[in-house]
Subunit: 241 residues, 2 copies
């Protein structure tokens, strides 16, 4: 049985994200960019932002693109799908956005990202690497010239620190695959499900612009609430910094 | 300088969580339990739920407890701190809780968990392992006897499947440590910060009951909204299942 591809909030999210990105850039010089850092078993070392728009994977590394293409071609022949890891980074975010208990900016980012279909994990900064880090390693030393590292991913205690906000996402493999899968019908009897038609073997490839938009919307929303609470003066002072 | 330990929403969260756990257990037989699966470099293999309450780490494995104790003693002498990984599992959750776009149960869980101090990562089901999984491996086969695996962690498309809801948390190492850390004062001059007084070298040790409470509150909230939308009949039908 062929079914139309699922439709959700992708188009409106990216449209709203474009407005948020523009507003953030004009007022604060905030820059929000994302890239794919892993496709299935293939880790993609970061080389340059300039490469991200030059390939359909949003990979920041030209050298690895032929390997990604070959992997996807083989996967498509198998009728299977694969997961991916996406990084999203916001630069020049003013310090002080968020709150320590309610309206935490890290919680709002996690809500937005986990709400994106196929996302099964969200990290901020060091994420799950924090588990095996000592405090003397994880803590970002502060000097007169700024922080010496960014394990916090730009957020401490629910509030932005002024460092880059760094978010990682785990995207699961597409569930609609050509390989037959065991399932049951409405009577509870065993059936096989095979999904034909046009389905991306890796939804992660399309996730980068959506994740960028979600991060932009959360940050702009925080800034508008900050303005509501602190007045336009606060915004103008921050803009001039 | 000695400062009082930070106070937050721990006590009210655990109090509300106790009520939510009781209500969920009485109405649906929902059981919510958590444990520590990793302390710094030490992975704690799951052995038995019965062990969790027998040691101060919430470790589900008696054999590893002496190693954990020795590690913490050495860490305390170093004046350092360490991260941890916590698992929280909800059993017997009715299928159908949540929505596909707004009020997704996975997004609400991520919001609650990332809002807990020191959490830097949240996974549902296979989490970041999904990145390298193929669709034919990740997808949970459905048979007349139920699902054959639970990579989804009990949630698909923002809605509970009736399988166990499985959540993992990355807890960063405590920032308040005795080892002197570089920082700056209000004039922007370099200073060293040393935190004395009573501070847990691993806040992750205290996180398990709080994470259980947060999961209970999210699930009960979803059930009450389901009742508001579908009426008490829905709730009673589900209770009898």
């Amino acid at each position: 049985e062929e079914r139309p591809p699922p439709r959700g909030l992708t188009a409106p999210t990216v449209a709203a994200g474009a407005i948020a990105k523009k507003w953030l850039a004009e007022h604060f010089g905030v820059k929000i960019r994302g890239y794919m850092s892993q496709l299935g078993p293939i880790v993609i070392p970061f080389q340059s932002w300039d490469e991200v728009e030059n390939n359909p994977f949003y990979a920041p590394n030209a050298d690895v693109v032929p390997e990604l293409e070959a992997y996807m071609d083989a996967l498509r022949k198998d009728g299977d799908s694969i997961g991916a890891r996406i990084e999203v980074i916001a630069e020049n975010v003013p310090a002080g956005l968020g709150e320590p208990i309610y309206a935490r900016i890290d919680a709002e980012i996690a809500y937005a990202m986990m709400g994106l279909n196929a996302v099964k994990g969200v990290e901020i900064g060091a994420g799950f690497e924090s588990v095996s880090q000592r405090g003397s390693e994880h803590g970002d030393a502060l000097t007169p010239d700024g922080f010496e590292s960014n394990h916090a991913g730009g957020i401490l205690g629910g509030i932005s620190t002024g460092q880059n906000i760094e978010v990682s996402l785990a995207i699961k493999p597409t569930s609609s695959i050509r390989i037959k899968r065991p399932s049951i019908n409405q009577a509870g009897e065993p059936v096989e499900v095979q999904t034909l038609g046009r389905h991306d073997p890796c939804v992660g490839i399309r996730a980068t612009p959506i994740a960028e938009s979600l991060l932009a919307i959360v940050i702009m929303d925080q800034l508008l609430r900050q303005r509501a609470q602190c007045g336009s003066d606060w915004l103008e002072t921050k803009e001039q910094e």
